[in-house]
Symmetry: C2
Subunit: 332 residues, 2 copies
């Protein structure tokens, strides 16, 4: 079966991103190592441009567009990191961007997205009422009117390949790993990362981590087909509230992901506090998923990690500081 | 006049520290650049081992001891990062360490220091009553009884040279800078950093930043002699509560530091919040001094930084998370 992406696609993405994306550092912590008996390597994508790995995939997709598509511009709908990623990537490439955001999205996120569009009169954030308007119909209409190319948040080969450069760098900088832990929303990050990891370190086992309340990928892999959750999962991990994996991401995950485990919100908050105290970095709840599984949340569902080299992707750091302060001040 | 350290001493320290200290990343932020009109390069020493640059100087000093001194061990008194730095460096070098700490120091700091000594029966933390006992007399007595070498927190050429490796790496990794901003307590960090900066980028102007409440170095440089503040300064920047620079550090600062500016605590808190929100890193108040001066606190006392390349040392990240949360939740 032909998979949607290969390692060559990740390598091509790495070339496009060279000098544009940050090569984020790999952090280590003796305390975390002592706690797990493993050697942990944290890829700090919270230190990526716009604060999350999403920049990689968005830029890779936009940089691959043809001349006419570039001139017309791109459209994305997102209330989260994908919105900022597309807005920033478009600005860097001199392309117009239109971002559809729910009118009740956090003001800080709307402002950050608009901020990346500043100075380009062709770019804008369009707010919609998510209780009364059909987002997809609105997107289709705006895209058709303006000739925009839709950039999906995860289920697109160029987006997936771009995200995979995070694991490519991790393995290049920290050496081969026995295990790699990656958070899972729609599966864009893990499908790219698994593709890179299996190519660079064939023995590396790749684990996805979902919030316990939203284990659509775990269910889908167990069932062998895409399972759609009936409702938007309630979890602090707002970047992993997807109800179903994508067609492309599911195809890659079936092949390249060794298992999916889950952690609950209380573990995410404790992990967020641990990472701030020990690694001195701010990580948003979704970005803590992979670390949470290794540090405490899902060890009974995992093989013994003692003595192993374990890569962990910290996927993003975009959390309102007041909210961060409130969460860590009263850990679960 | 012969200075206590030269660039060769910093280079020798870099060799001793290679593979032992983290080569911490240099972070950038377009938001910070836009706000200042400069290009800012933040050296993230909060991501250093034990959470602060202090590890560099302590390890450099301990690794330079002779065989007999190593066997006997070292002694330090500190309630802050120097305590942890000496304890960790001693453990790595297989040396005993005795750390004198006030009995009312934060429990977390005492525990962290003891933690680095774990497993070595010859090492210990000795708590003293700082209202009833003379710390210096106690230190002399313990050192004499056990044959320990005292490791001062800043006024020692090997400590100063070790701290200078932070600037050495910054300039190697981010290129020459027009200005370098460094926080100032006793002057250990800035004297090493200024020595490195002036050697690698002769045109680089080096600025010290002190808390407004504790400007002993600013006064000393203005007066041309060491000025001792009558009281321990009251400031959030607990790593810069020194009352006077050292003899060695003052000699270097007179030659190599272009000026000292001050910032107040409210600016430190706003800077701590900014660095967490934008750079996604946790920096303790003392560690924010240099960034605070550039971002807002002392611009009227500084030359125009627009268009300049500006290095900034974020010196440490050891702040209790509950305290961090409380401070940023109610910024000044």
């Amino acid at each position: 079966m032909t998979l949607p992406i290969t390692f060559a696609d990740v390598q091509a993405a790495a070339q496009r991103l060279a000098g544009v994306a940050h090569r984020t550092p790999v952090l280590t912590s003796r305390t975390a190592d002592a706690r797990t008996g493993a050697r942990l390597f944290f890829k700090a994508e919270n230190l990526q441009r716009m604060g999350a790995f999403k920049f990689r995939g968005a830029y890779n997709a936009l940089a691959s567009l043809g001349e006419a598509e570039r001139r017309a511009g791109v459209l994305a709908f997102s209330s989260g990191n994908h919105a900022q990623a597309v807005a920033l990537a478009a600005r860097l490439l001199g392309m117009p961007s239109v971002i559809l955001m729910p009118a009740d999205a956090p003001a800080a996120k709307i402002a950050a997205t608009s901020g990346y569009q500043a100075g380009d009169a062709r770019s804008e954030v369009i707010l919609f009422d998510r209780y009364r308007e059909d987002r997809e119909a609105l997107a289709r209409r705006v895209a058709a009117e303006r000739g925009l190319t839709l950039v999906p948040p995860f289920d697109h080969p160029l987006v997936m390949a771009g995200q995979g450069t995070a694991a490519l760098e991790l393995l290049e900088d920290a050496g081969p790993q026995d295990h790699l832990f990656v958070c899972v929303g729609g599966g864009g990050l893990i499908s790219g990362c698994a593709t890179a990891a299996k190519a660079l370190a064939p023995g590396c086992r790749v684990w996805g981590v979902e919030p316990a309340a939203g284990n659509d990928v775990q269910q889908s892999l167990a069932r062998g087909e895409i399972v759609r959750l009936p409702e938007v999962p309630r979890t602090l991990a707002d970047g992993a509230q997807t109800q179903a994996p994508g067609r492309h991401t599911f195809a890659v995950m079936r092949e390249a992901v060794d298992g999916v485990v889950t952690v609950d919100d209380a573990v995410l908050v404790r992990t967020m506090a641990f990472l701030a105290e020990r690694l001195k970095v701010l990580v948003e709840p979704t970005g803590c998923l992979a670390a949470a599984a290794v540090l405490e949340g899902a060890r009974e569902a995992l093989p013994d990690l003692r003595g192993a080299r374990v890569g962990i992707v910290l996927s993003g750091g975009n959390i309102d500081l007041a909210r961060f302060a409130a969460l860590v001040a009263a850990p679960g």
